[in-house]
Amino acid sequence: MWKYFLRRIALSLLILLGVSALIYLLTMLMPADYIDNQTSAAVQNGSMTLEDVQRLKELYGLADKSFTGIVKSYAAWLRSTMSGDLGFSFLYGRPVTDVLADYIWISFMIAFLSYIFQIIIGIPMGIKAAANQYSGYDYTVSVFAMAGTALPSFFLSALLMNVLSIKWGIFPLQGLVTATKIFPADAHFQILLDKVWHLILPITVLTVLNVGGTMRFTRTNMLEVLNSDYIRTARAKGLSEQVVTYKHAFRNTMIPLVTSLSGMLPGLFGGAMITETVFAIPGIGYMALRATRQGDIPFIMGYNMFLSILTVLGMLISDVMYMVVDPRVKLS
């Protein structure tokens, strides 16, 4: 068991190493004067010195494009990344880790809430659709689920904004707080309420986009389970259809569901780039997109590494969860 874990973790580290090399390589594709262009403003207003810029170039392999130079600078970058230093964002003028730490929570809030909605809406719908395969309900739900996954997030956002914010004025258009309202400093509850009010639309968008996937996944797995022999056995025991579906069938559908859903958990910290940007929510995705547009290489690389770590972590978690949930997997 422990041996398996160790191997699995070793493999993950290997993958991360590969990913880091790849991300590094991709960044190196940028032209050498890129940093000069991007940092000229910062240099001019004095927040960066020319030495800083040179160091930056060295660290990101843009200064010396010979093989040994690249290897050297990669090693240096890797060393600092491994020690937890993701670099210094010249756009935000702070260490990347600080920026991440500041903005991660709002992103996580949005993603996590929509994740919860996705589960509590998608799974029961999937079960019901599978239990009534080829019924009107099944078709309707399936088509809507597919339509949800076919919607571009920015288009859905625009539609909702147009109707709910502008035409009806129910929800605010953008931002996290109402700029025109000034709350007394101790009105925490009101401030919170105001934030929640701002978050409803983005959460709705994310939920609509993702709920279809969960629903289809549940449905497919549930159908497979409902066709198996042990479900017939359960029925032959005289169990009611409710118990058969929600106890015997669902417990088996849980295995792939828990595996995949738990694997998504770390990814929730990654932020929803487009949705956050459209709604101008200062989350990590929004910050990252701004950084990308401004060519803030340290932030971009730090952010991408962070996302990769989350992905690898997700894979690890779903592997572990699979072993926990499925009694058939017992490693000696």
């Binding site: 993958i15 790849l22 597919m146 571009p152 625009a158 147009n162 990308t292």
Partner: protein, 356 residues
Amino acid sequence: MTMDNEKAKVSSYTDYSEITEQDLGQRFRVISPGRMVAKRFFKSKLSVVGLAMIIFVFLFSFVGPLIVDATWGHGETEVFEVPRVSDMLTTADFKAPDGKTYDYYDKSQTTILYKAPLSGTHWLGTDTSGFDIFTRLMYGGRISLMISFIVIFLETVIGVFLGGLAGYFGKWVDMLVMRIVDIFACLPGLPILLVLSAAISSIEAIPAEHRIYYLMAAITLMGWTGVARIVRGQILMLREQEYMLAAETTGIKAFNRIFKHLVPNAMPQLIVNATLGLGGVILYESTLSFLGLGVPFPRAAWGSMIALADPSRGQEILANYPNMWVPAGLLIVITVLGFSFIGDGLRDAFDPRMKR
């Protein structure tokens, strides 16, 4: 010739060389597996609807421009200055000398050249740059469809090659290829694409009209791993099938084993995967265009048309000009949904076991 006579004729032969192709029924249509799949595909309403949607989008994008060009002479980047007088209403608060606050209205008239309303020659009006929206929707479709097909083709080629290597040779080759797949699969897709697009547009050596090819390459780079995994899985699965063993025992050459047995039987999965993937690429492409990192202006793209409605650039278009962005969004939805319906229909048609 009746059936009975024919049968009698065939079975009375002792010399098999005298049996003609016609006797064997070759000149009649045979119910081939492909026909069975087609029948099952067309039996499902959703897949027919999907097919209709995709045919519509194709006609719209590839035949449409020809018609529009012939009828009105509209091109993709032609600027139409449609002058019209418009009322402008401005409001403001001001503090009067009496200390009270008054609302202030001012009504004036201006002439606008762009943002023409719907009309007989501009069915969906013109946009902020004076382009005809209806025409640009067509050209945007061309780009989207072209990119998605080329990307999926490239992904399939790379995926089949690498997945095939891994599955066929196994052992350390498999190990190596699959680790590469793992690494690529762990790259965060959209952020990396953004970085790449940003890099592409910042490199001056790449002319603007060539950026799109680099863009395709970038999307391909992010997407081939799925195909490779599927191909590898298929090969491992098919290799255990008894007909593959039979091909080996009968001494069929490896080349023929692969191309007559393995490939045709792995095709269904690939086709389904590719169809479902087309929609995904369109979404990617339109997202990049939305962020201004895709197809460069002034070329039309659905994503960049929706970007006009981005509230960060002001609410006016979002609020008052749905004709500029809603049709593009609907077209994306129709296309992606169409591909999903077809993909789903194909999957059920290829593998009817899941259906009860």
